[in-house]
């Protein structure tokens, strides 16, 4: 059982969360210009490291927010947890809010 310190709810058991995939690659642009190779890499290819990795977790049993979690897959240590939407907006938007 791992415990994820949710930025909104505090530390909670893993059973409250749903894993949502590796957060490594950025989705190709939806402008019709991205080729099949880029989409293949985004949808299928994985770093799958034995060590620190960034991943999405959904806190369905709590605040209902998507979180960006930095986790070590070898030690299972949680290194950093941020709200995924805030992380995507960046620090400038954080200040504006």
């Amino acid at each position: 059982m791992i415990h994820i310190p949710c930025p909104w709810c505090g530390p909670r058991d893993e059973t409250e969360f749903t894993y949502g995939g590796e957060a490594g690659d950025v989705m190709p642009a939806l402008d019709g210009q991205s080729d099949q190779v880029a989409w293949h890499a985004f949808v299928h290819l994985s770093e799958n490291p034995s060590g620190p990795v960034s991943e999405f977790w959904y806190h369905g049993g709590g605040c209902g927010r998507w979180l960006l979690v930095r986790r070590d897959t070898a030690s299972y240590e949680i290194l950093e947890v941020r709200d995924a939407v805030e992380a995507a907006r960046g620090p400038k938007d954080d200040v504006e809010r």
Binding site: E14, Y19, E22, H44, L45, S50, T73, A74, Y76
Partner: protein, 419 residues
């Protein structure tokens, strides 16, 4: 290496005649160069080595194992063999494996304790039973065996099963494959190792590969602690570590490594002469010859490299086992362990050519690889020996992800943690 195993030899040794038993396989010192270097000495890698030597006359083969033989997923699975798959590519390969299992103890002169006691997949809704009927028809069409059981037939086949219509999840029927069953899993590693070693294959344990020396688009040599070993062909068959080994060779794979747990109860008297699976919630149970119930379930649900697993998955699996067999409720679990399953984006294995010319991959078996062991060894060996994919594994090519020809038995999409 000693001679064949037999009842006579057992008796002979039992009388203290003929000296000590000889080791089943030799401890090799690596040569400078091999025609084929197999990275990974699990059941798949060892079977590949055996069939390279036996079917194709390639004896200049080295198997490198980072741990010890039978210590990885070969010795961690729930020992189930079956071929009850719907999609043709999945079913045909496992059916070939099942046919090979049926004669393997004799061929390898090693008692694998193959017990075709039957494999029952429970349906908990009419829709699920419809899907099973479709699957049974597909199995019959490819020459395998399958039967659909209604509740009465199920009561007769699996007497301890909880068929109470007022159960939390009432059972409506089942898919049965009588040729499915169990066997002694670590004996598979030992038997293939012994047979391969007798045919001249070198096996080195406790020897992880630390890198590849590449020349052009080929691997010239593998680097290990004892030294650099040249190779004409390299086979990578390392299950949970596939991404790490692929990274050494310079490419990424469409899979994630996710732990799966299994556990055994204390031994009890014979109660269950068949393997039963709670398909809708994924929990399977069988009884060993020693009397322990062997149980397994779904993955942990997120990637990791700790071969342990958490309490949540144990509770999830145990709840379904007790739902099926209420007599298990007060039994104690004796041991629990995990294995690292490499699960691809469509949930099916990846076999054959890679971006590196002389590197053949066998990966992505997730928690379904044990049953396929002899067929994987057979087909990968032919693929390496003939330089083109064996027809049975051609659909499992790595490039299917880019071309879109996915083989998604579960229909779960590019989310390995859901397969």
């Amino acid at each position: 290496m000693g001679g064949d195993y037999s009842a006579w030899r057992l008796l002979h040794r039992g009388w203290g005649l003929g000296g000590a038993w000889k080791p089943a396989w030799s401890k090799a010192d690596p040569k400078k160069h091999y025609e084929v270097v197999i990275v990974g000495g699990g059941g798949h890698g060892l079977a590949t080595a055996y069939y390279l030597a036996k079917n194709h006359g390639l004896h200049d083969v080295l198997v490198l194992e980072a741990g010890w033989l039978g210590g990885g997923n070969t010795g961690r699975n729930t020992t189930i063999i079956r071929s009850d798959y719907f999609l043709e590519a999945s079913g045909a390969l496992k059916e070939f494996a099942l046919e090979l299992w049926e004669g393997l103890s004799q061929e390898l002169n090693y008692n694998l304790m193959v017990s075709q006691r039957g494999y029952v997949d429970l349906a908990h809704s009419d829709g699920e039973l419809e899907a099973f009927t479709l699957r049974a028809n597909a199995m019959l069409l490819r020459g395998s065996d399958a039967a659909i059981l209604d509740r009465q037939a199920l009561k007769e086949r699996v007497p301890p099963l909880n068929l109470d219509p007022k159960a939390r999840f009432p059972i409506v029927g089942a898919l049965l494959q009588e040729r499915g069953g169990t066997l002694r899993h670590d004996a598979v590693a030992w038997a293939y190792a012994r047979a391969a070693s007798r045919l001249g294959v070198d096996i080195i344990e406790q020897c992880p590969v630390t890198g590849f020396e590449q020349s052009g688009n080929r691997i010239a040599a593998v680097t290990t602690a004892p030294g650099t070993i040249g190779a004409d062909n390299v086979v990578v068959s390392v299950a949970g570590q596939s991404s790490q080994v692929a990274k050494m060779a310079g490419f990424r794979l469409p899979l994630q490594s996710i732990p799966v747990q299994a556990f055994v109860s204390e031994p009890v008297k014979p109660a269950l002469d068949v393997v039963v699976n709670f398909n809708a919630g994924l929990a399977y149970v069988g009884q060993t010859d020693k009397g322990e119930l062997v149980m397994g379930g779904a993955t942990e649900g997120y990637p990791g490299y700790r071969a342990m697993g958490g309490q949540a998955a144990i509770e999830h699996t145990a709840a379904r086992i007790i739902e099926m067999f209420p007599f298990t409720a007060k039994m104690r679990l004796m041991r629990q362990w995990g294995g690292i399953a490499d699960i691809p984006m469509d949930g099916n294995a990846i076999m054959g050519a890679t971006p590196v010319d002389n590197l053949t991959l066998n990966a992505g078996w997730g928690y379904a690889g044990f049953k396929a062991t002899p067929a994987v060894g057979w087909t990968i060996a032919q693929t390496v020996a003939q330089g083109r994919a064996h027809p049975l594994i051609a659909p499992f090519a790595l490039d299917r992800f880019e071309s879109g020809a996915l083989i998604d038995d579960a229909g779960a999409g590019p989310a390995p943690w859901l397969h």
